[in-house]
Symmetry: C2
Subunit: 426 residues, 2 copies
């Protein structure tokens, strides 16, 4: 009989994480913490956080301030760090891999007093497992309406926390089985507070599944892949996966460098390399995949939210030097700024079948005559140094230069406490 | 456009609960508490309970001792009260309706200081909603592998807690939407600690969904029945339902009166009315629905657990006067008792296509010549008085006469505190 994904995850529990995966995980840890610290300022989640913190105190840092039991901290931090939808993505497994795993692993690491490198190792196992589970569940699971970030994410969080606690094979089997009764979250929540909550619930499920299994709770023998299990009930495709073979999937994680719809990112990356003087620009012609025309092509936005779904607006902002990585720049005012409005009028958008969803092509006509051509593909490999620099720029835009540097230092260091001090600082 | 089940539940939130439904709910409250108090003695859940209680203190009573926040108490109490699988059932919606709803409603009622009649009213709305949701999800949802007790149960628990908190229409809509991202639980857990845990998780989801919605958390507009919602993703049939029309569904709840497989209950009910002298019995011929032959027809069980799945064993116990309502009677020893073994040898079991799953027919040949014929159908209406008497007998068998009487008095009274004092008493 073929091995199920559960059998493969059981073996994967002892995998050695390669250095490139650990380094990439550190970058995602830095990025996740920045998104979380910024997300903790969203006032709409304030009552929810207060309510949860009243339930009991503990060892684990809560984004924005205070401490709570690990499960509660995972729930709150998972929710807050997905509040801005600005955290990392993995296109093939269709979800945000870090936002379910890191809140679980970091909260539990603090609780058990693990050093940061142990937490990063556990998170890498968790994130890779989340992607593997997502690939195994496949597109049918996502298309029918499951929020893969939350469903696959819960199993990833469980694998990460299990690694951290050093669960043995039987305990891990029960933990994955328990997770199979908790993993949940539907796409109907998109556009509501329920979407970030899905991530928080996945993180909590990871903490609880591992702790309960360690405490002797039994569950289905193969709750993920077996009969009447998660895959069978949740429209899983049972696609073939091979944990630990070839380059790790987490190396192809995408980070968001702009605080707006993902459909605009290739265009913003292309413009970001142009070093064009705004005064020299006569007109701009942007070509993009047809799918995005109905998603993020608002011609004349009048609110900060609408600006996040507008080629013309974000292109004008980029060309005029307004940081598109800063949430704070997406205001109602900037949509009415005379310079921005003038620049918008010079920009034309058209769809181009030949391009993929991650590609863009731009022609800029210059006032002095001549033309500049720009192009970008989000799938293009990026050097580790470029990625680091871009993430540091994003964080400086999000949190300010000083705070960004402190966070970078903490995320690259060995002291979990120093990192968590950054999380609680409001 | 037709109204969805969500629209109907939104209207149902203000329904007046009829007196017969309230009286039935009181009986189920008594039965649930008895199952919970007995279930709290199951040692395998001890570590789980301890772990949860360490997370924080609160106002809500925990079965077997102590207090916790409402959500935690709901989780623990839901799990413990389903540990023995001895709580009430509703055959049409295929699940245990009280075990998800009552732990949520009682824990929250204590937290907000509601009197017992308000809690019973809220529980009736919750249980009826759970059955309605279960009927709406239908058999395809159950057959594919969802544990309806947990999935429909979470929505029932949410309706009950929302009624208790007096949520307005918008808040209730969000609570049901949040529940749609949390309701979960698969049948792969049957036979493990994951099965009772499913009930506990459903109860907790009910408490959290209502409290979070009250705290301003938003969710999908129609997370239960809308596009990409719970029904669409979880193999729901979307069968037609009519809340509050005709007799309430909760009036057709079944209570278990014997601590063994449900397939044996019709037979044990039939034997219970026979008043046969064991010495007069020459032979017994039991006819039952073919489905049960592979489920609970172990001919010569040698353990207490196997005894729970044996026609011959449980029939012999009943004929010899051993209470089949007492968990404590299902021991390894009683399967080897010489009188029981001799009686077993006089019993023959055969399948009979003509009978339904809830029917049995028995012929007893007497030593002095002649024959007694017995029959029973679990679906036969039972008077309120008979049901009360049988539940009091069950509770006396489970907890002892005195404790059973105290619990009966508390469950029939108006003082929530008095009932909860019974729950915490070990």
């Amino acid at each position: 009989m073929d091995k199920t994904i559960t059998d493969q995850l059981l073996k994967f529990r002892k995998a050695t994480v390669p250095d490139d995966a650990l380094a990439m995980m550190r970058l995602s840890l830095f990025d996740w913490a920045a998104c979380g610290i910024a997300g903790a300022k969203e006032p709409e989640f304030g009552d929810f956080v207060k309510m949860q913190k009243r339930l009991g105190t503990g060892q684990s840092s809560v984004l924005g301030g205070g401490h709570a039991p690990a499960a509660t901290a995972a729930l709150i931090n998972g929710t807050l760090s997905h509040a801005l939808d600005y955290d990392d993505t993995h296109f093939a497994h269709i979800g945000h891999p870090s936002v379910a795993v890191l809140p679980a692993v970091i909260a539990l690491a603090e609780d058990v007093g693990a050093p940061l490198d142990v937490a990063v190792d556990a998170a890498a196992i968790g994130v890779e497992s989340s992607i593997l589970t997502g690939l195994w569940l496949g597109r049918s699971h996502y298309q029918i309406g499951y929020h893969q970030t939350a469903t696959a994410g819960a199993f990833g969080a469980t694998m990460g926390t299990a690694r951290l606690l050093g669960l043995d094979k039987d305990e891990l089997r029960h933990a994955l089985g328990l997770c199979a009764s908790m993993a949940s979250g539907i796409k109907a929540q998109f556009g509501t507070m329920g979407k970030p909550l899905n991530a928080g619930l996945a993180a909590r499920s990871g903490v609880e599944a591992a702790l309960w299994a360690q405490g002797g709770m039994t569950a289905a023998q193969d709750g993920l892949a077996g009969p009447l299990g998660f895959g069978a009930t949740h429209h899983g495709e049972a696609a073939e996966i091979k944990p630990g073979k070839g380059p790790w999937h987490l190396l192809s994680i995408s980070h968001k460098f702009h605080a707006c719809c993902h459909g605009l990112h290739a265009m913003l990356e292309a413009l970001g390399t142009s070093e064009l003087d705004p005064d020299q620009i006569a007109s701009v012609h942007i070509r993009t995949h047809p799918r995005w025309m109905s998603v993020c092509n608002i011609a004349e936005p009048t609110t900060g939210l609408a600006a996040k779904f507008s080629y013309a607006q974000t292109a004008a902002m980029a060309l005029l030097g307004h940081a598109t990585g800063a949430i704070s720049n997406f205001t109602d005012e900037i949509t009415k700024d005379p310079q921005v409005v003038e620049m918008r009028s010079k920009i034309m958008i058209s769809e181009e079948e030949r391009l993929s969803e991650t590609q863009t092509e731009i022609s800029v006509s210059l006032t002095g005559g001549g033309m500049r051509r720009l192009r970008h593909d989000l799938m293009a490999p990026m050097s580790f140094e470029d990625r680091s620099a871009k993430l540091q720029k994003k964080t400086a835009d999000l949190l300010g230069q000083d705070r960004g540097e402190m966070l970078w230092k903490a995320a690259q260091g060995e002291d979990l406490r120093a990192l968590c001090d950054q999380l609680v600082m409001s």
